[in-house]
């Protein structure tokens, strides 16, 4: 029914529908589109970086532009590509996995998305307005506080706005998972992806405030003449580094944990076994989240914290290898003796294990504080974090997309194209980054725009650039796959993979109320339990009755637009106070929308029992 309506609607109506939607599935799709766009943008920046480094003393880009490229590549990939794509999967899947009809705060969910998008757009506006930020994605003071122009101002304001969106999204998922689980869905029956989404949301809740505070201090230093990071005014630039990494280290676990969750679900589905060591997996996830807050200073070993502090943080960092190792072995044991089916989703998961383990090994090497003095700021570090972020997070996103694409869009991604994507990307990835370990050990520093001839770096860099092109081809094939699949892809049933968890018990794509009747969960892998006892679907936990749904609203879009406008005002008022008018207009729009939201009753609507019955008979 929803399909026939979609076909009859005009483009404008569909657009309005997406602008005002509070449906977690549509918000998930918007996160996917926006995150995918920024992923391509970040990829383009990466290609420019690699092209510049293809030969010694290349002059493809200028030194200043190279700084902008590396800064924006890192910032875009972390904040605007990886995080939103993770949120896309969480939005699409978590409510379905716990048997909920929607998230706890649908309005906030939509607000979180629009804040992220407008923050990202604000950040990228800098390209056209006098130059992008150029102080590295870590924006260390004092480089960032004295960087001329408005580049770093865009970094501060853009990340502040999109960071607020992420924080809101994280809180929403926390409350959703705590409060909205179906009857019988105890914590220890939640699928691993939901568990990791839960821990990730907790990390967002605790880590993002540090970034918010850091960005505010930097905003005041750059725009309002304060001196938090200025030693000549009694400040201290190391404060920024601490605040950034108190946020920044949990951030990498925010990214990787949901990927771990994807792999756990994929391995158990395609091995036809329940996840090996489920309890240990949950425990390891919680432990990684906990330890993630106690290791941030391993990014700062060379700052001069002293041997005592360095040792404490080195030991804490190495401790993280233990829960991660538990996870790796549990995945291997899940595969062991399973009825394994290798398709695209599974390929990404299988490719992840050796790739991520390599990244983990170099991680332990880097954790040794004394050795880190050698590796610090060299390509060895670049190789390490690309192994964990690409080999972990990006592989996880691809795996999750192949796995849940049928649930999100009702069509199965083409397998042949999927396998081509995997192999080109996988080979390209190792070609690009494996050699960078050795480039780093040979002394090639990070963030330099050129290197000299005949220092043993020429050939390695050439190989690395060739590898990057393979990765680009892989990404393009995936895009082609998406287009081809949406035109003439194989239609998916409710349960194309013979799945184990709740999301496979409802149609693909699900109706906007998800579950006609809330399901009764009788154990881990609830759908599998019902199937193994000969039932076709879940037993409902409630009689068929009216469903209460929230109304859509344009306010989240308008509020984010207000902050976007105010952002420009904050940046340009440093030249002319007349720009403050933009701050007043933007904040006025924001506060006005908040007032409307507070004063206007919006009680939602009901889907009536009779309509649900009619739907079921069709």
């Amino acid at each position: 029914m929803s399909n026939s309506i979609a076909q009859n609607r005009s483009f404008g109506a569909a657009m309005w529908d997406y602008l005002t939607t509070v449906d977690h599935k549509k918000i998930g799709i918007m996160y996917l589109v926006a995150g995918g766009f920024f992923f391509l943008l970040g990829g383009l920046e990466a290609m420019a970086i690699r092209w510049q480094l293809i030969k010694p003393e290349n002059d493809f880009v200028s030194a200043g532009f190279y700084n902008e490229l590396i800064t924006m590549h890192g910032t875009t990939m972390i904040f605007l590509a990886a995080m939103p794509l993770i949120f896309a999967l969480m939005n699409a899947v978590v409510p379905l996995q716990i048997g909920a009809r929607d998230v706890a705060f649908p309005f906030l969910n939509s607000l979180g998305f629009w804040l992220f998008l407008f923050g990202g757009i604000l950040l990228n506006c800098s390209w056209f307005l006098g130059g992008a930020p150029d102080a590295g994605w870590t924006a260390y003071a004092p480089l960032s506080t004295i960087s001329p122009g408005e580049g770093v101002d865009f970094y501060v304001l853009g990340l502040q706005i999109s960071g607020a969106g992420t924080l809101i999204g994280g809180i929403n998922f926390l409350v959703t998972i705590v409060n909205m689980r179906a009857p019988g869905m105890t914590y220890m029956r939640m699928p691993l992806f939901t568990w990791t989404a839960f821990i990730t949301s907790t990390l967002i809740l605790f880590a993002f405030p540090a970034l918010t505070v850091g960005l505010f201090l930097m905003m005041f230093d750059r725009l309002f003449g304060s001196g938090f990071f200025d030693a000549s005014m009694g400040g201290n630039s190391v404060i920024w580094e601490h605040l950034f990494w108190i946020f920044g280290h949990p951030e990498v676990y925010i990214l990787i944990l949901p990927a771990f969750g994807v792999f756990s679900d994929v391995f158990s589905t395609f091995s036809k076994k329940r996840l090996f060591g489920y309890t240990a997996m949950v425990f390891a996830t919680v432990l990684i989240g906990f330890l993630g807050f106690m290791v941030w200073a391993h990014h700062m070993f060379t700052v001069g914290l002293g041997p005592a502090a360095n040792s404490i943080f080195a030991v804490a960092t190495m401790a993280i290898a233990v829960p991660t190792g538990i996870k790796i072995f549990n995945w291997l044991f899940t595969l062991w003796g399973g009825n394994i089916k290798i398709n695209s989703a599974m390929l990404w998961a299988l490719g992840f294990i050796p790739s991520f383990t390599l990244g983990g090994m170099t991680g332990v090497m880097l954790a040794a504080a004394s050795a880190d003095y050698q590796y610090h700021d060299s390509y060895f570090v670049v190789a390490h974090f690309h192994y964990v972020i690409v080999g972990g997070v990006v592989f996880g996103i691809f795996s999750g997309l192949h796995y849940w694409w049928p649930k999100m869009f009702g069509r199965i991604l083409d397998e042949t194209l999927g396998k081509i994507t995997f192999w080109t990307f996988f080979v390209g990835f190792h070609l690009t980054f494996f050699i960078q370990h050795f480039l780093g050990l040979m002394g090639m520093p990070r963030r330099y725009w050129v290197y000299l001839e005949d220092q043993g770096l020429d050939f390695g860099n050439l190989i690395s650039t060739i590898g990057a092109f393979f990765m680009a081809i892989g990404a393009i094939v995936f895009l082609y796959n998406v287009v081809i699949t949406s035109i003439k892809g194989e239609k998916a049933g409710a349960d194309p993979w013979d799945g184990r968890t709740l999301e496979w018990s409802i149609p693909s794509p699900p109706p906007h109320y998800n579950f006609t009747q809330t399901p009764l969960v009788r154990g881990l892998d609830p759908l599998w339990i019902e199937k193994s006892e000969g039932r076709k679907g879940m037993t409902p936990a409630e009689p068929l009755s009216d469903i209460h749904m929230p109304n859509g609203s344009i306010l989240p879009f308008v509020m984010s637009l207000g902050l976007f406008i105010a952002g420009f005002g904050f940046i340009y008022q440093k030249y002319d106070l007349a720009w403050l008018s933009l701050v007043f207009i933007g904040m006025g729009i924001l506060l006005g929308s908040m007032l409307i939201r507070s004063l206007k009753d919006d009680l939602g609507y009901h889907i009536h029992k009779e309509d649900l019955e009619k739907e079921a008979r069709k």
């Binding site: 907790t202 809740l205 605790f206 404060i239 601490h242 807050f293």
Partner: protein, 107 residues
């Protein structure tokens, strides 16, 4: 019938008793909080040594926050394990942050 009647009656009594207890506790904490505030003000007015006043005021403040959370915001009741966990988690992270700033930067 009669049995059921007494049962309901007993349950009602139980709830009444519970409510009374709760009320008693709230009044006691309220009184204590006022006393704490008076002590804090009194110490400042009496002009004692700063090094003595500040730690005591901080301790009193911490106890008051505890009262607020547990008696007025009902964290002592069942079903508040998750908010408690989150609160203590947040306090822990904030403590670590402040500790780092103290130890690694300002000392």
């Amino acid at each position: 019938m009669a049995d059921k009647g007494t049962e309901v009656h007993e349950e009602l009594d139980y709830h009444k008793y519970k409510k009374k207890e709760e009320m008693k506790r709230q009044v006691i904490t309220f009184a204590l909080m006022i006393v704490f505030t008076i002590i804090a003000f009194g110490m400042v007015v009496s002009g004692l040594d700063k090094l003595f006043i500040i730690p005591i005021i901080l301790v009193l403040a911490a106890v008051q926050v505890g009262f607020q959370l547990y008696y007025f915001m009902h964290m002592s009741h069942k079903g508040h394990e998750m908010p408690a966990l989150m609160l203590y988690g947040g306090v822990f992270i904030a403590f670590l942050t402040v500790l780092t700033m103290l130890v690694l930067i300002w000392w």
